[in-house]
């Protein structure tokens, strides 16, 4: 069965997107991306510390991976736009996850500033993925502004709390006609699977993979559970019932039904 997510002309088969932060080393990160057979990976931009001569992370992202630049660190639309333009100049392509955050405690995004950045960057031909608090109206506005997908959060970044926003995300999946990619807070493969069963187009996971004892194995675990969730969604999950419905014939063993 051919099932892929098509974004900006690119056909993506693996619906697990992986963030590259917090890995203990770049080689481990690369092994995790390879183990998961990831096709999309996010990377951020930061000021260089000239005293810290570190390797270039881009050399460790497999060539088969589409890089998506995360505007993390941006506190308003202007800063997000600036980061996107810098990344493009650096040759990182034009896929941008817009992340605009002013709240340091919960790291919850500023949807309004995010929308402003979407509007500017779409006009500059960026492929734009806004990271947002799940909200139907705002999600629709992002889509109208030209976002190729929206990325509502499951729970706060790095919290490993799972899909606390499940009902709002379900509404977005049902009502918005661009892909919904659940991003942030997924702590275990079953939660990624849950998102896929709901009809998410993809999920983005970073912390749960990067800080596990074995990030390479965990990347595979997430990848397989995303695949399982997707298959279940495509198969049509039966509705839950309050009473039993026998799986075996309802006749008695050696007598007729009473």
């Amino acid at each position: 069965m051919e099932d892929f997510l098509e974004i900006a002309g690119k056909k993506i088969q693996n619906r697990l997107f992986i963030g590259t932060g917090k890995f203990s080393s770049y080689p481990i990160m690369r092994q995790a991306l390879e183990a998961a057979e990831a096709e999309v990976a996010t990377v951020a931009l930061r000021r260089v510390d000239p005293d810290l001569k570190t390797e270039n992370i881009m050399d460790f992202v497999p060539k088969s991976c589409q890089v998506m630049i995360n505007t993390s660190g941006a506190r308003n639309a202007d800063e997000a736009v600036r980061i996107a333009r810098l990344a493009k100049t650096a040759g990182a392509g034009n896929w941008i996850k817009i992340e605009v955050i002013r709240d340091n405690k919960y790291l919850l995004p500023d949807n309004l500033e995010t929308l402003k950045a979407v509007e500017v960057l779409v006009k500059e031909n960026f492929v734009v993925f806004p990271y947002m608090s799940p909200d139907l109206s705002m999600g629709r506005r992002m889509a109208e502004a030209g976002a190729v997908a929206v990325m509502p959060l499951g729970s706060p970044i790095g919290s490993n709390r799972g899909v606390k926003t499940r009902e709002l995300i379900e509404i977005m999946i049902n009502e918005i006609n661009i892909p919904i990619i659940v991003d942030a807070g997924l702590g275990r493969p079953s939660e990624a699977c849950e998102c896929m069963e709901l009809g998410s187009a993809a999920v983005l996971v970073n912390t749960a993979i990067a800080v596990s004892n074995d990030p390479v194995k965990m990347a595979r675990a997430f990848s397989e559970s995303v695949c399982a969730g997707r298959l279940a969604y495509l198969s049509g999950i039966p509705v839950a019932e309050k009473t039993a419905s026998a799986s075996s014939p309802l006749t008695g063993f050696l007598r007729e039904e009473e």
């Binding site: 996010t42 000239p50 881009m58 990182a92 991003d183 983005l204 912390t207």
Partner: protein, 66 residues
């Protein structure tokens, strides 16, 4: 003369170019993007930008991030 690099004030030789600053810091040009007074400067142009007193330079590169 003084310029600001990544938020820190630094003393440099007059008529230094952007390229000279990067070389002097021992940074690998392939990994970097530069802003000169809030304008992005492509690598090919680094050698033509002559710095002036109080100029502001941002040097950024890619890091891990979700």
């Amino acid at each position: 003369m003084k310029i600001t690099i990544n938020g820190k004030s630094e003393e440099i030789k007059i008529k230094s170019t952007l390229e000279e600053i990067i070389l002097k810091k021992g940074l690998c040009a392939n990994n970097l993007v530069l802003e000169h007074n809030a304008n992005i400067v492509p690598k090919e142009k680094w050698k033509y930008i002559i710095l002036r007193e109080n100029d502001n330079i941002e040097i950024v590169s890619f890091v891990g991030g979700g």
